[in-house]
């Protein structure tokens, strides 16, 4: 058998062009889900195939790539995806947020502020913010067309009435550019404010659901809330046990059988930066 060889970026050029067209369209209509002919990738659906396809179409030889999962560079899926993209493109890899031209992420936005020229590529499981209120695509398309988002406000209201608190702790819905209801992907609420007026281009890819959407740089992004119940993010009594940070998202680790807990930064690069400042 002959050794198989692959194109730069794994996908063939025609497929990459079709993806780029979908990406451009998504940038032109902020927050609107653009259907695209999603391909089977050598990574399972649900593991980041949307973001991966965007990256295959996006990366050029001069890019520097960072891949994180849950904020960390060293989590197994981040390593696996990074290895794949590196093998198929040969791009430079980095763990430093500030050094990256493209950052693929699952479930977090880095703590280090992004800058103009950077591109965030989000892995998205369910791109439709209304999906758990209305499972049928034919219906949700109509709701978007009419801008009929009352059901979402009603759900938030019901959470408040029953629990005194919004039940969505991640993937909290946002309106993009003052209009379009969008799913920020399952980032914690903590990260929602970073979407607003970000200098970076933010692309969202959902491979299994065959949709992509975008938040162009410096776009208004508002988290849904009520005037008398403003949007609030998570905060901790603890500080990071490694770097002492008291303004980052913290992971809870269970360290022994008796259930003893430790709290550390979920953003590993940020934690290292803070630590090196202390030294």
């Amino acid at each position: 058998m002959r050794e198989r060889s692959y194109n730069f970026g794994y996908l063939d050029e025609a497929t990459k062009r079709s993806l780029r067209r979908a990406i451009l369209k998504s940038v032109a209509i902020p927050g609107h889900q653009i259907p695209f002919g999603s391909r089977e990738m050598p990574i399972a659906f649900g593991w980041g195939t949307g973001a991966l396809q965007i990256n295959c179409a996006l990366l050029g030889p001069t890019d520097t790539l960072k891949v994180i999962d849950q904020g960390a560079d060293d989590t197994v899926n981040a390593i696996s995806l990074k290895k794949f993209l590196h093998r198929m493109t040969g791009v430079r890899l980095t763990e430093q947020t500030s050094q990256a031209s493209v950052i693929q992420t699952r479930h977090r936005i880095p703590e280090t502020p992004l800058r103009a020229g950077q591109i965030m590529v989000y892995q998205v499981p369910i791109p439709e913010p209304l999906r758990f209120l209305e499972p049928r695509e034919i219906e949700t398309r109509k709701l978007h067309a009419y801008g009929e988002y009352g059901a979402m406000y009603l759900k938030l209201y019901e959470d408040l009435a029953h629990h005194g608190e919004s039940k969505s702790s991640y993937d909290h819905p946002v309106t993009v550019n003052g209009y379009r209801l969008s799913a920020p992907s399952p980032i914690p609420k903590f990260d929602n404010p970073k979407l607003h007026h970000s200098p970076a281009l933010q692309l969202f890819g959902a491979g299994r659901e065959q949709r992509c959407y975008a938040i162009p740089p410096y776009t208004n992004v508002e988290s849904l809330s009520f005037q008398d119940h403003p949007f609030r993010v998570q905060s901790w009594e603890q500080s990071c046990e490694q770097c002492g940070s008291n303004n980052s998202f913290l992971d809870e680790l269970i360290v022994d059988d008796s259930g003893k807990r430790r709290f550390v930064c979920s953003d590993t690069d940020y934690c290292h930066q803070q630590l090196s400042k202390l030294l």
């Binding site: 050794e3 050598p42 696996s80 499972p135 680790l253 269970i254």
Partner: protein, 368 residues
Amino acid sequence: MFVSAKGGETAIENSIRLLAQRRRGDLSVEQVSSSQIVEQLGLAVDRVMAEAALWEPITAAHAIQQARGDLVEAVFLLRAWRTTLPRQAFSKALATENMRLERRISAIFKDIPGGQVLGPTFDYTHRLLEEIEEDPSPPSPPEQLHVEDLMRNVPTVARLLEDVDLMQRETPENSGHVPFDITRESIRFPADRDQRLQLLGRGDEGFLLSLAYSVQRGFGGNHPFVGELRVGWVMIEVELEELDLVISLGEVRITECQTVHQFISTSDQPPQFTRGYGLVVGHNERKAIAMAIVDRALRSKELGESIQFPAQDEEFVLAHLDNVQASGFVSHLKLPHHVDFQSELHLLRCLRAAHSAKTYSTSEGTEL
């Protein structure tokens, strides 16, 4: 050639011979052995054992071979064999906390006591076709791993949540409770959890997978986290009451999954996570996770949630998940039905005659 259903004895005989030929394939290619299937197609063997509800690897491999690789047919063969075996005893409840783990992960904490142990998994392979050499050198062993050092007595992640009261504790019913036995009694609705879990445990993997997927996509209304997935070996023990003795029959490989879902709260109890439970014979993570999600979806009634979707509907799920039943009934349509069909033909002709008589009289009416 037309063979009428009557007098088809020679036809059957010839069909069976043809089948045997097809099964053997090209005679210039070596025949596979059952032990090759056990060793090299182990996950197929595991799936067949799980859905047949019988731990007997070499027999399952034999069934796969006889079924020409049709796994549902192999499940059928193994079930038909299982049915001939006498029931000797009930084992004690499996102590999965004490199992010998070869793989164990949690998606809800970055680190857990006992650690995240990947073990053998496809998860982080890239699905690129590899070259399979004709006469390969043995695969190189992993670093720093002694297969004998499989972890034992690792507490479940669920217990860590129970201990701080964040998840509903689930204790077995009083010891006198004799579990429902779906292999000896007919299914009863509403089904208790023992009945449901047994049915899910040997239910069709594809059916459970799609149901679980429907829950995730909004046709089921609850989001699962994989609290823990463990694969390993668990001891089967039987208590001999008259001798006051517990004997071990040996170990079987199992896959256990506990999923964590959003909250319930009552007026006298603060909110807690709820749980789904999946347990499958052999190594089958896809099915164990799917089973846990479907188990949780089927708890909707018990937890006071509205039932709107297929995965929450107990009769819909439990009555249709068995692939031996389903495959039998769907394929029975290949049997002759000409008597029924003749009756339908007769009826249809009568209806058409009545219809044209009516049309004729109406058109006459307009003429007048």
